[in-house]
Symmetry: C2
Subunit: 177 residues, 2 copies
DNA sequence: TCACAATTGATAATTGTTACCACCTGTAAG
DNA sequence: CTTACAGGTGGTAACAATTATCAATTGTGA
């Protein structure tokens, strides 16, 4: 179990940028200066930025870029598998009356969430009180899935295709663990 | 690894409702009809509802209740540990340029997110293509923590205490999957 | 170089959530 | 059983994040 370091990221980012134009082509996207700037900013960030943060960064080179473009582009990048959203369920707060420790299966189509118990999970962190500078408070395993209904339908209220993940390229040199 | 069944929930909900008034007292909260209706609706729901859904349900008995009260109350219940928010990071979408499989450490104070690699996680689901009706697509382990900075400060924009989790009840009889 | 579909910027609209504040009510003291 | 009042509520305005719209611009392949 290892935190990913800054130098890991720098190398990874360089490799990804080198291939970006080709990847856009493959995904049927035009290679615009805005898209280049946005993916560059995203790959340079260590902290999983929000749209507003990318906007602030990109604006320095493209003062005329629109925030809407940043939102759109980030979603587009996720669609073609060049980025991913860390917050699959960020659109509205979801509450749980079950305060016992447990985890969740999330349908990516309709966003239903079901409880599941997986004893092994907490054990992964057993014996640790911290991870580097981070003091551990708990953990949540989110299992992404498609419910029976959503396996047929294209995807109700959440038309986010979540990319078919045919991706395989460029998952080559990653940070080691 | 077991899905939690409806009958599990029913028993658990009954136990929790029986103690709710006492628990409110302990937390320094008044026991209002609105709060009773909201916790009842939350405990009856299997799908981790959003505020709007609870509102629709509770309205049937309390047609005059305000949506604002539902939002407030759900947050209050989380604060005293009677409920929890499934979506710790729901406020704005966070993007990740790193498409390699990895997991995240989230600071509950400042919401910074750092990459981490934990090889054991995917292994928990190895050999499975589905969980009951759910077809598996992937999983994400979110480790909740406090960064060095936020261990001192009370807790910036996210004062949510995340409840002490002393719970233990009603995780008894489950169905296997 | 050209034609056209894709993309962008500006801005309006929508959605989920929180802030406000006057009125109401659960609580505990008498 | 009253009473006083801190805390809670409803109605609504304000906010923040995101998405929709659409005319103008631009990348692409021919
Ligand atoms: Mn749950
Ligand atoms: Mn990451
Ligand atoms: Zn579904
Ligand atoms: Zn922090």
């Amino acid at each position: 179990m290892q935190m990913v370091t800054d130098s890991d990221r720098a190398a990874y980012a360089a490799a990804r940028m080198a291939e970006f134009a080709a990847r856009c082509h493959r995904g049927g996207l035009a290679v615009t200066p805005q898209r280049l700037a946005i993916i560059r900013a995203l790959l340079a960030a260590a902290d999983h930025p929000r749209a507003e943060t990318i906007y602030a960064q990109v604006r320095r080179e493209h003062p005329h870029i629109s925030l809407a473009t940043v939102h759109r582009t980030l979603e587009t990048l996720c669609r073609i598998g060049e980025a991913r959203k860390v917050t699959a369920l960020h659109d509205s707060a979801r509450y749980d009356g079950n305060t016992a420790p447990h985890h969740h299966v999330v349908c990516l189509g309709c966003r239903r969430i079901r409880d599941i118990e997986i004893p092994g999970v907490e054990r992964l962190l057993d014996g640790r009180d911290d991870l580097g500078e981070f003091k551990l408070m708990g953990c949540a395993l989110e299992i992404h899935a498609l419910c029976a209904q959503c396996q047929r339908k294209p995807g109700r209220s959440n038309p986010k295709r979540l990319a078919n993940r045919k991706q395989s390229i460029a998952t080559s040199n990653h940070v080691d663990s």
